[in-house]
Symmetry: D2
Amino acid sequence: MNNAYEYIVYQADSMLQQLCKTRRDLHKYAERGWCEIRTSSLIAGRLTELGYQVLTGPDVCLGSARMGLPSEEQLEAEYKRAIAQGAVQPFAQQARCGYTGVIGLLDCGDGPTVALRFDIDALGLSEEHGTGHLPCAEGFSSVNNGVMHACGHDGHTAIGLGVAEILINLKKHLHGKVKLIFQPAEEGVRGARSIVEHGHLDDVDYVIGNHMNESQGNYQIGLTSGATLASTKIDIFYKGRAAHAGTAPEKGRNAMLSAATVVLNLQSIPRNGQGGTYINVGTLHAGSGRNVICDSAKLEVEVRGETTALNAYMEDYTRRIAESAGNMHGCSCEIKLMGATESLESSPDMLSYCEKICREKLGLSVAPLSSKAGGSEDFAYMVNRVRSHGGKGLFFNTLAPCSGGFHTKDFDFPESFLCNGVKAFCGLTYDLLTGGRP
Amino acid sequence: MNNAYEYIVYQADSMLQQLCKTRRDLHKYAERGWCEIRTSSLIAGRLTELGYQVLTGPDVCLGSARMGLPSEEQLEAEYKRAIAQGAVQPFAQQARCGYTGVIGLLDCGDGPTVALRFDIDALGLSEEHGTGHLPCAEGFSSVNNGVMHACGHDGHTAIGLGVAEILINLKKHLHGKVKLIFQPAEEGVRGARSIVEHGHLDDVDYVIGNHMNESQGNYQIGLTSGATLASTKIDIFYKGRAAHAGTAPEKGRNAMLSAATVVLNLQSIPRNGQGGTYINVGTLHAGSGRNVICDSAKLEVEVRGETTALNAYMEDYTRRIAESAGNMHGCSCEIKLMGATESLESSPDMLSYCEKICREKLGLSVAPLSSKAGGSEDFAYMVNRVRSHGGKGLFFNTLAPCSGGFHTKDFDFPESFLCNGVKAFCGLTYDLLTGGRP
Amino acid sequence: MNNAYEYIVYQADSMLQQLCKTRRDLHKYAERGWCEIRTSSLIAGRLTELGYQVLTGPDVCLGSARMGLPSEEQLEAEYKRAIAQGAVQPFAQQARCGYTGVIGLLDCGDGPTVALRFDIDALGLSEEHGTGHLPCAEGFSSVNNGVMHACGHDGHTAIGLGVAEILINLKKHLHGKVKLIFQPAEEGVRGARSIVEHGHLDDVDYVIGNHMNESQGNYQIGLTSGATLASTKIDIFYKGRAAHAGTAPEKGRNAMLSAATVVLNLQSIPRNGQGGTYINVGTLHAGSGRNVICDSAKLEVEVRGETTALNAYMEDYTRRIAESAGNMHGCSCEIKLMGATESLESSPDMLSYCEKICREKLGLSVAPLSSKAGGSEDFAYMVNRVRSHGGKGLFFNTLAPCSGGFHTKDFDFPESFLCNGVKAFCGLTYDLLTGGRP
Amino acid sequence: MNNAYEYIVYQADSMLQQLCKTRRDLHKYAERGWCEIRTSSLIAGRLTELGYQVLTGPDVCLGSARMGLPSEEQLEAEYKRAIAQGAVQPFAQQARCGYTGVIGLLDCGDGPTVALRFDIDALGLSEEHGTGHLPCAEGFSSVNNGVMHACGHDGHTAIGLGVAEILINLKKHLHGKVKLIFQPAEEGVRGARSIVEHGHLDDVDYVIGNHMNESQGNYQIGLTSGATLASTKIDIFYKGRAAHAGTAPEKGRNAMLSAATVVLNLQSIPRNGQGGTYINVGTLHAGSGRNVICDSAKLEVEVRGETTALNAYMEDYTRRIAESAGNMHGCSCEIKLMGATESLESSPDMLSYCEKICREKLGLSVAPLSSKAGGSEDFAYMVNRVRSHGGKGLFFNTLAPCSGGFHTKDFDFPESFLCNGVKAFCGLTYDLLTGGRP
């Protein structure tokens, strides 16, 4: 039966041109979280074409559990642009209004359910225009101003579609179910929760996710025992009352004072002896004119913790400070949840299992296990839900010598490494659905 | 009838030695607010001796309306010291437990009621020991360490007892009633309210108070049309929870953060376009050790306003900030009222009336009317209560070339000027109770 | 000679249609401070036509003393718009680059020099579009989006051109010199200083300015003995360093912390016992993204004081706090002066003189002298410069029942009242240049 | 040669009564850091008696490198008390003025130099008086009010004297040198640096220190691979200028504002992605009276870091904030270093070496290696100095079921466990000086 792995390796390597083509198309028409209408329609179209049972629209994401949704006006504008840029119907219509997730189901009879997660959104960044930047030199840099795939999700999506093709070709050998989850709005950790809350992970036995990462040595696959940071993103709005600053300041309710107080006090939340915590007030916009008592302020805030509990400590404390700082100066305080994720750790035996399959079956080199995670990833919700009912979760890295840096305007990655991601997903799924166990 | 004024002037000048003796005795055994047990007992004894109907103890001050009372332990210690220093019984016993006000009543039949206010308390200050300081050179500086008459209330009390002697000698000429109010705890504006709340000003037609003040030219009496500042004194207490700062700061509730936040925000209360406002956080004591999360903090705060309404704006805002700064860090917040007074303005016609009597009947020179008041004086409660039911109030200054400065350890005043205070009080009262009107 | 006053009154009333036409044209093409290119060119054209010697461009404003200048790009864009909207050459060209002041000189031989000041700029406000708003109903509301004459300077300018016409017709009766100063950028108190620093007030014996004001009763002219507030407008810029907030916050320099600290501490500047002071941090914009350590912040701040000295206390303290708050977090701090004015008081004898001329010679009703000024006005620089060398200054109000409120989008005033301004300026100038003296 | 270890074990067990007696005597006459005059004199007397070459006074601690020294008055008062409580001359005299360290030297010819560190100071705490507290029941609780051995240093000192006795008895078997360092002022991490700066660790090959710790299971010895926290203790003093808060606040320089600003900003120092950092403003005392602008403030602050570099980040940032917060309000800022230590990690091979000797040679049970250190210990300076020139350092715990908690008023430990400390120190030293190596 070992020739199935050889098949996987061969197929993955053979589809490099196709992976590139997909990736470059997505890169050129980059779309931000909840606005991946064209992206989503192409995915749904391809999965349908391949023969998957496809879920779209409100069947994928629970509407009320989506976080950090753009305004309706923005969503509509994005819809129009997507149509203009070749979004496919009826899928574009289904993705409208912030329902851009897609799930492809493959039922291969009795056996475990394996879910694979691929994130599909771009970032709010204007791409580099210099010819030193490959997407620019090759003519596939983003045509959507201020939006750019600077975190590799275009590659992740291409991997997902490649995986979809190989797995369906292996269908007759498989025993169990495959769920291919194409998740919107991973940036800002806004999307995963809505898929989990819809229940799509409740029957899953194994869930596997991936993110490309900077290479270490010449290794192709990276595994981490440490946890990513749990995180919560909130916007704080203060509403006060304007007044003439030179003649009647006492008639105002000074939202500027609430804003300054909240910044200093948020940043002052005591360190936690249980582990690392972080906080940032990233932006603050307040006031309408020099001689007017400031009547409104908006702050974008994020907290993080090495564990979900540490993050909760930060979030609870943040909310209390925010409310109090408003009360203090007679300003109303509104707090909007813009994103959230838990802390993510792979199941320990999944790590060694992945290492074994990659090395022994797929010929992929695996870097020594690292304990350093850092950053946040809302795939955590999926892993934690699966683990909560006894299943197992795995998060692995596809390593590549990237250029620029993640989340910068000149980020890029060598496309040949996409094949490795395809191999790992397919190899693990094949093994699990043919009786292999971690 | 003009010879009555001549009598007053002659008697006041003749009693200089006696005024000095009284003043120096009070100066030597200085007592702070609510602790004027020896002082109070000597006043009550003298008024009784002169033939006044005398009120003491809870008959003078409404217990619950006293502000900024020392602890029971302190009051008891002060009682013992007073006894040791010659306090007179049964009056000392009556003054025990913070009931140190005395009122002397003189009923001269039909006619208006005139109340005269004399404040009797000293300050918490250690007196200068150098021989350049007259009380020291003459051997009557305070024997009570940390307590000193540095605001002239010893002189005010001596004036009051001089006035008592002259008025009772004029009794057969008077028509109406005299109330001599010896008020405790003027410093920190803590005492007047309790006398007003007891009702002693409710039947008063004219209330007159006095404070010595720095001379202006060679004038003897000063009058002011402007208002003294309304003020509120509060103590803020935060109670948090201690924890080890190096290993478990998150287990604490950091009262230091509440304290720092309240300081900056109190000081940030917006200016008021309606008039002048002031705030001060005078003292802050917080924490128990360098490596322990601070679990308690105490702040002494005062606010002021050019009007009672402006002061209320400051006090209300202060209370809101204090509560919010506690909530913000999970600390309880207790606010204790330690003193309060309203804004004080003399009735306009009392000013011109006083000027006329002093100049024409008593031979006292009166400085030009000033509009600059400044400072706070809880005699305001008495004036405002009397004015609220249609009576009139007057606050005047006895001017003298004082040395040192008010509220400093080398403050002193020339005693000969005390006679002018006696003359003004007696002359005004005589005129009012013999048909004179402003 | 009294028929000269009758002539003035008659002429002023007769030119109402012309005043309205001028005012409405200026209103429709409203221009902000330093951008009054069309406005300035029309003024210079008209003065030239009338026969005045006209100064424009750098001959009016000292370049380096102009405050709060827009960027070169903005100035160029404004120039292009002005040309498109009918600005007159060569004056538009002369006003380019923020040199929009105009002075008209009339030399009538020996005698005192009288300067009259008219401010010409609009505000950054979008005008009301409802038909309840007269300029809209009558079709002369601002066609320049976000710019509006909401403070009546369109009327002031119309008055100035009316005055110019009458005075030159009276030339043969006058003895002395007339300077008509059309000042740019009064809003934000940015323009007057550059005219004063150029020296235009150094030879002036009498300087007179005017602002329309809300009516009091049915009076037509208002006079105030009190002072307007001195004020300084500054922008504070902090430059820090960005870093990833979740993985390396220590690599940043957190401008958000400098900004929050400066807000609370500026607002905490202690009250001043010498008189009223004000401060406002009107706007604050900081940061680039939620998960990035904030690397820049901009604050718009103003301070005010009842006297120039009190304002200097506030400004000095503000600068010290701003610098320290930057240093504290390793951020550079740049402070830009955006506007400034001193405190303004009319010469006392000019007030009574104005009252007399208006009442007795011009038939204008004058409201009782008020002591309440409030607000700030950079005409102060002119008055103070003239008074500093022994001349006299006057600031008077033309009263009218305005609608909306000053500086609001539905502000308007009844145009018939413009005639009163013309009368007062002309009557006072005529009297001064025919031997009259305050 | 194994009977030397048997000798050590036997002797250590046999001296239990003596260890108890020494410990109880020290406990009863507890002395705080730099005031251990009686303690020091008894140690020096005993070492002399045993035959050690003894260093005392300025020969042990470099005067200028001592941190957090009490005032001269306190030191003198402590000297008098020590004499009254039986301090031994001439050693008490030598320990006067804060020179309370003692070193005992034993030269056994060629071979490595082994230094053993014992800390000797008590804490500023009032001991529990209830009979449930053994020192109280047995009559050896502290007679020095407010001073208590609540961290076991009385036991450490007793161990040191026991070790001294055994090692000198083994002298003829040893090859090398022994340094017994009795260190003052470990609490507040104030003393070790002065011994290191004197050069006493410069010729040391192995340095070993110990602290008792709460038992884990029934293990007797604990070892930790993790690092203790580096820490710096500073006092911040602000000096401003007083003024009357109600009439002339602008004349003051408000140290309260500097103090509040420094608290919020210190606590706001950004987290560090390199590892854990801590900060605490433990105490703050500011101001002299409610109605006086605060003219002075004192803050007790500590920072900590998981590494010496992280601690330096915190200390540098703290100093910058402190200076800036003073400048901001015109207050001078003085920063006093009150204590400091680096991060401490044992040499890895010393950990396994210690484990081996304890288990195999001394019959002591050793708990599994822990990676959790926490807390701070200025023995770090000694270890780091020795390691810096190629030597090795070890810090181990003597485990015991302590009652109360460390640094609480009812802390106590079972004395029988002292023998284990003696065994470990002697066994390791014996092995090292007879050719054993880690």
